[in-house]
Amino acid sequence: MTTSSTALSIATSDPASQPGLATGINIQGLTKRFDLGRKSVQALSEVNLGTKKDSFLSLLGPSGCGKSTILRILAGLETPSTGTVVVNGKSAAEVQKSHETGIAFQDSALLPWRTVKKNIQLPLEVSGITPPPGLVDDLIDLVGLKGFENAKPAQLSGGMRQRVSIARCLAVQPTIMLLDEPFGALDDMTRQRMNVELLRIWGEKPATTLMVTHGIAEAVFLSDVVAVMSARPGRIAEVVEIDLPRPRLPELQRTPEFHAYVDRISEILFGAHGAAAGDD
């Protein structure tokens, strides 16, 4: 079993033996194989991961290593081939039913026939939640789309669509957030602002969060825990706790502690002393 060199206090790569550290996300012995008629692809080989409730976990790893797959399994959109997945003490099916999940997909997945506003309202309609007045407008404002409330997705640029999908994710004021490269299509400035806003929202109403990203700095800036995955068939190479004070302000990114984390994770991802080797 791969473990980080420092002792973990809010996450674990062995949730089976440390259930206390897996009150939020709790992934045990998870594997996933896709069957394609006669062929099959092993996407995940034995993933074990736990985080405490209301902690912010980022998933980093090479393209195609299975990050989205893990996220989809947590969201109950894909069934594990083997293993179990529990979030906030609930199974994926229960999580779905409880209407507490916010999700943003790698592609924005907007409904083309709905306006920006209506797209953001969709999860509320599905869950039957009446939002506090002004919430949706505030969200539109938050993602910088004021004036586009009634635009259809086809009239938006790629980045604008992605922002709609982030607003949609936040609409249910979730206790579980699943974000798949939500800021991938954004320019640095918007991305930075969205990060700060995300942190603010998350700080106000914490949620057990899993974010897939390929921005190391972003992951460090936002997360309590960063899990680094190795290439396909994916598994967790290392779990790194980010012990930086909160609330985190943009200035944090210029501190040496921050850079140390970025460097360390870069090394895990790209470094020569492959942690992965110890994994086989």
């Binding site: 997909f105 997945a109 999860p123 599905v126 004036g147 586009f148 259809k152 009239q155 249910v172």
Partner: protein
């Protein structure tokens, strides 16, 4: 901080962007100039095309009529048919009554048939296992020999009722609508469904929030096709009914039996007109309801 972004935040759309009718009109390089004949053709507005088409058809008709059937009027000249049409429609009330009667039966058949078809299609949605059964029932509806089954319906219905017309109209639409609807209910993309699933939406929510809407273009195409089919079904039904005195089918029967070929053509055109009008009406409604198409703003606009 007056950076470039800031303006993007403030900027809102000129003329205020609201509900968007007619998306993507200006996209896809449609306006590109081409100096070819084809380019010129593409440049012309639809109604010019329609008029050219009608003129071409009328001229061809006239030529066939005068060269091959100058005497017998088996294929009567368009002008004669036009005159008859005008006379029949505006000098007598007979035809309007017939249109109303047959149209009424067609409408009922259309409603019933589509209700049944939608029901069969939705069964599939609720329980995919039903697909075989639903479509096979629909196949039966479409291919059951009408000449055999229609008299039975007539005899089971009260004398003088238009049930046979309604029945045949319904039979004529069931299959197309079932196939169209099942096709449409699969049109939603996996990611669109995923959004609903992730938020705990069940089958019904998926159905109403995504599948149905994504299916609309396809369902409407089927409903459009069904409209003339229903009318023709109702006309055909009048060849089998007992105790019914009025209707387009009755007029056809009378015109055929009395060898009134000009009138026959006029009635056929009236019938085509009604069926065509139904087709275009449903088509229009469809366009209004689904300015987008299968998930892509510019899809449905062709290329």
């Amino acid at each position: 901080m007056t950076d470039l972004r800031q303006q993007s935040e403030q900027a809102s759309i000129e003329h205020e962007l609201g509900d968007s009718v007619g998306l993507g009109l200006e996209t896809g390089g449609k306006g590109r100039e081409r100096r070819t004949l084809l380019g010129a053709l593409h440049g012309m507005p639809p109604w010019v095309g329609a008029i050219i088409g009608i003129v071409v058809i009328l001229v061809a008709w006239q030529i066939v009529s005068v060269t091959f059937y100058p005497k017998t009027q088996s294929i009567p000249q368009p002008a004669l048919v036009g005159k008859q049409l005008f006379y029949d429609l505006f000098q007598t009330g007979v035809y309007w009554n017939a249109i109303a009667k047959t149209g009424g039966a067609a409408l009922w058949g259309y409603l019933w048939g589509n209700l049944i078809a939608l029901f069969l299609a939705f069964l599939v949605l609720v329980q995919p296992w039903f697909e075989g059964l639903s479509t096979q029932l629909a196949v039966v509806c479409s291919c059951i020999p009408l000449t055999a089954i229609a008299p039975i319906v007539t005899l089971l219905a009260p004398a003088g009722s238009r049930n046979t017309s309604i029945f045949l109209a319904a039979l004529s639409v069931i299959f197309t609508t079932v196939v169209g609807t099942i096709l449409g209910l699969r049109a939603a993309s996996e990611t669109q469904i995923d959004v609903i699933r992730a938020y705990g939406g069940g089958r019904m929510t998926q159905l109403f929030k995504v599948r149905l809407i994504a299916a609309l273009p396809s369902i409407l195409a089927a409903l459009k096709l069904a409209a003339p089919a229903a009318f023709l079904g109702a006309v055909l039904g009048e060849y089998f009914v007992l105790g019914v005195d009025s209707g387009i089918g009755i007029l056809l029967l009378a015109a055929q039996a009395t060898g009134a070929s000009v009138r026959l053509w006029a009635i056929a055109l009236i019938s085509a007109g009604v069926a065509g009008a139904a087709y275009f009406l449903i088509g229009r409604i469809g366009r209004l309801l689904t300015p987008w198409s299968a998930g892509d703003a510019r899809a449905g606009e062709g290329f």
